[in-house]
């Protein structure tokens, strides 16, 4: 603990006064449990930290600390969010101490990583916090010096009074500044005056990462901590019947084996409380390896769970969800999807008169696209630390949305939210998976039961076979062309297990006179969850492949064809609620056309595929070039164009786009999670193929559209169109269209057609 002496009373007082405006907060209990390692190095017990807004702390000797509010899962918010604060605060970035903030939604905002929202939702509040803090420091100096605040300027952590030549550090005025109420409406910088934002800064945790410091949840440790694992049923739709732990308990290091109910019957679940199995068979022991070994000695009988019911109170309101009991098999799921595809579906949007357009069409093009479940496969498997006692709970580990999980913990533990402390570690990937907090509830209940600090760890097999997958999708696209090959009608009908992917108000909606979007869904006991650009990650594959084929049928260049449609959508949009901005959409296509040398003779040797997509408020387009190597199409180069508004940290942003490209190529070629009698057929990387270095392109050129639009998000948008660009490039490489993901297995026999 880093509390200064006699601080308890003062601290309590000051904590409450802090709510009224800037306050003094002396201690920083977060991370105090990290006994070893670097996370605690910044915490010197003697430092007096004055809090200037919830995000900024300054010591009298001018140490300046900025708290990153949002969970870090590789999108680099630990660097980019504090950069936004620092820009307005006017400080020397190289001297800033950055620290992960505690879970505190009052002071630190929504604290949710997902939906490409981190920079977008914090852009304004962090600039305002930085500007307000700078103003508080200026006022503090003005009071101290007895000078009008207008005559003072702030620069690089210093305050100057030019007329008198007076100067002082921020630290000198921190104690006074902390007593000043946080001012509202302080003028923010114009984009053209940014000094830090838009200039690449290195990852603030880079050094810790390359030297193997304990940054991740799985690295977390406390004195007396036990390791717990859960033996899950072997298949979706199964549950624990009975078990005999006699042999397991004889194994060295094992302290406990027990059954634990996760959610009590009838418990109302939040939208992100998804869990696959409710009756847990828990093994607890001293070390990871001992627990792994003991699991092998369990004698367990499982039984079909049958139909079950959940009460879900999510975004769309409260409803009872019936979870079917059938043990599902992929081939049967496909058949069932075909059946559903032929039935009437729910209409999502209709413009004009699509029925007549298709009736009068000179030519109808119809194609069906399919994609399997995908596992997130975060490199760091699910895990969480919990220490639950009679009156409070501490949870530490990797998660994307503490504010969503806290109410769940409160429910399962019967503790008020203010007795639950959640600390967020760096995450070894998230991709949506760690927005689902069931594993915190599991860890907490296990700790409560064994009355000890516990770290729950999923093995890779546990992690991959648990569910919360990207859903299984299908969609049939139809286009009606008149005798002059004009596009007169467009129809998409999509479905999924258990969710469809259709975004009815997205391109090419708005660009075609007669348009129809429909959807259907098949319930399942295979759990699903958000996966990097939910829904879009399928749509962009299907729709962008279809548009490519359509352009060809119409004798048009695939980029020009899209640009024509976008021109129509801008000048004379069809229907209402078109979600996209046609100019920004066209902008990324034009940029990628230029940067890739789309029509250049020297690029003819490549099999080139293009795709563009809009999702999560941003726009992305890729040109992917394949070549033939050893008789096999091989990805060689990628050109990417992205419009996400102002780019805070350009090099890190490029890194993220490069990652999205690789992730997209990998999943397009290999990603698949299939089932047999309810059991996942892939349980580790020997069966679930991940893209590896030798399968990556030589070059990825990332270009951002330069504009002064407030940031609109980046983590997801570049990902979906990769699938379409890959499919379209493969067509040029092999002469074959690709309708079913993953494409990779279909390539082995592929011959270059032209």
């Amino acid at each position: 603990m880093s509390q200064p002496n006699n601080s308890v009373n003062r601290r309590t007082f000051l904590k409450s006064s802090a709510l009224a405006g800037g306050g003094l907060l002396l201690s920083f209990t977060f991370l105090s449990a990290f006994k070893k390692g670097e996370l605690s190095a910044d915490l010197e017990a003697e430092d007096q930290w004055y809090e200037i807004t919830g995000y900024i702390k300054i010591t009298p000797d001018n140490k300046i600390k900025i708290l990153n509010p949002n969970p870090e899962f590789g999108q680099n918010v630990m660097t980019s969010l504090p950069m936004i604060v620092a820009e307005e605060l006017e400080v020397d970035w190289t001297k800033i101490i950055v620290e992960m903030g505690p879970h505190d939604n009052v002071k630190l905002g929504p604290q949710f990583t997902g939906g490409s929202n981190s920079v977008r939702m914090y852009w304004k509040p962090l600039r305002e916090a930085g500007a307000a803090a700078r103003q508080m420091l200026l006022l503090g100096a003005a009071q101290t010096w007895n000078l009008p605040v207008e005559e003072l300027t702030a620069k690089a952590g210093m305050i100057y009074h030019e007329k008198s030549g007076k100067s002082g550090t921020y630290g000198e005025f921190a104690s006074r500044a902390a007593t000043i109420p946080i001012p509202k409406g302080v003028k923010l910088k114009e984009a053209k005056n940014f000094k830090l934002v838009r200039n690449s800064q290195k990852n603030v945790e880079g050094q810790k990462i390359v030297s193997g410091k304990p940054l991740f949840g799985i690295d977390y440790k406390q004195e007396g901590m036990l390791i717990a694992m859960i033996e899950h049923p072997p298949a979706f739709g199964m549950k624990l019947k009975s078990f005999d732990a006699t042999e397991a308990l004889k194994m060295p290091g094992i302290t406990d084996v027990f059954r634990q109910t996760l959610y009590e019957p009838g418990m109302e679940q939040g939208g992100f409380d998804t869990r696959t199995f409710n009756e847990l068979l828990v093994v607890v022991g001293k070390t990871t390896w001992e627990v792994m070994n003991a699991r092998k000695k369990l004698k367990v009988s499982w039984e079909p769970a049958g139909e079950t019911k959940d009460i879900i109170n999510g975004r769309t309101g409260k409803k009872e969800v019936v979870v079917p009991g059938k043990l599902e098999t992929t081939s049967e799921q496909r058949k069932l999807m075909q059946e559903y595809a032929n039935r009437p579906a729910q209409q999502l949007r209709k413009d004009g008169d699509p029925e007549t357009a298709f009736k009068n069409a000179a030519q109808i093009i119809e194609r069906t696209y399919n994609a399997p479940f995908l596992a997130h496969n975060c490199m760091e498997p699910m895990n969480f630390f919990a220490h639950v006692t009679a009156d409070k709970a501490l949870l530490v580990g990797p998660l994307q949305a503490p504010a969503w999980t806290e109410p769940l913990l409160s429910k399962v533990l019967g503790l008020p939210a203010d007795k639950i402390e959640i600390q967020m570690t760096r995450m070894g990937g998230g991709f949506g998976r760690r927005a689902y907090g069931h594993y915190l509830a599991e860890a907490a209940l296990i700790s409560k039961k064994v009355k000890a600090p516990v770290k729950l760890i999923y093995t890779r097999e546990d992690d991959m076979t648990y569910g919360i997958y990207r859903p299984m999708y299908t969609a049939t696209y139809r286009a009606a062309l008149d005798a002059n090959k004009n596009l007169i009608g467009f129809h998409v009908k999509g479905g999924g297990i258990p969710e469809h992917a259709i975004h009815a108000n997205r391109f090419p909606a708005g660009a075609v006179d007669n348009y129809l979007a429909e959807a259907w869904e098949i319930p399942s006991n295979i759990t699903i969850g958000a996966f990097r650009a939910p829904r879009s990650n399928f749509n962009a594959a299907a729709e962008q492949s279809f548009l490519d084929e359509l352009a060809e049928a119409m004798g048009k260049d695939p980029i020009d064809f899209r640009l024509e449609l976008l021109k129509r959508a801008k000048e004379n949009p069809v229907g209402k609620n078109n979600e996209y901005d046609a100019d920004r959409y066209a902008g990324v296509l034009q940029l990628v056309k230029e940067k890739s040398g789309w029509n250049k003779e020297e690029n003819k040797k490549y099999s080139r595929g293009v795709a563009a997509y809009f999702c999560h408020n941003s726009y992305a387009a890729h040109v992917i070039d394949f070549i033939n190597k050893d008789g096999k199409p091989t990805v060689e180069r990628v050109f990417s164009a992205v419009d996400c508004g102002i780019v805070v940290n350009p090099d890190a942003a490029s890194n993220m786009v490069e990652g999205a490209v690789i992730d997209g190529i990998g999943n397009a070629l290999y990603g698949a999670l299939t089932h047999k009698e309810g059991a996942a057929e892939q349980n580790n990387f020997h069966r679930y193929k991940m893209i590896r270095m030798n399968e990556t392109p030589r070059q990825i050129d990332v270009h951002f559209v330069q504009n002064d639009i407030d940031p609109t998000g980046l983590g997801e948008p570049p990902f979906p169109p990769v699938f379409g660009a890959v499919a379209n490039a493969l067509y040029r490489a092999t002469g074959k269209r690709y309708y079913d993901q993953p494409y990779g297995p279909q390539l082995n026999s592929a011959k270059r057609a032209f």
Partner: protein, 152 residues
Amino acid sequence: MISLTINNKTYNLDVDPATPLLWVLRDHLDLVGTKYGCGMAQCGACTVHLNGEAVRSCVTRVSQAAGKKVVTIEGLSETNEHPLQKAWLELDVAQCGYCQTGQIMSAAALLRKNSHPTDKDIDAAMAGNICRCGTYLRIREAIHLAADMGKK
């Protein structure tokens, strides 16, 4: 009792000789820079050096390491200034960062044998290391950069 030499330090441990070196490092010795990703030699997150060779510590029994020199990421360089670590920082390779210590250990073993690897050499040597975030291009470039640093 098993006697181990890790990062030039000697440890005497009372563990089951069949325990994977990975879990001895992580659970018994608090050397958590070596990561768990798959437990079956498929992802490379757990890569360490055993007598200078890159091995997957998740499938290396601790008894196999007895009497040999083990180097983990924590011991790759005393000051954390191995050319690879510097190159990694220079090119800001990491995204989530979880795979990177394993990547660096694989790369270090490669450079020891081949001070100037080609792209092809790198791809071959690094194919056992998964990066879920997709930082492969930067890893490849960083290995080249470290090789150049070594030359100077």
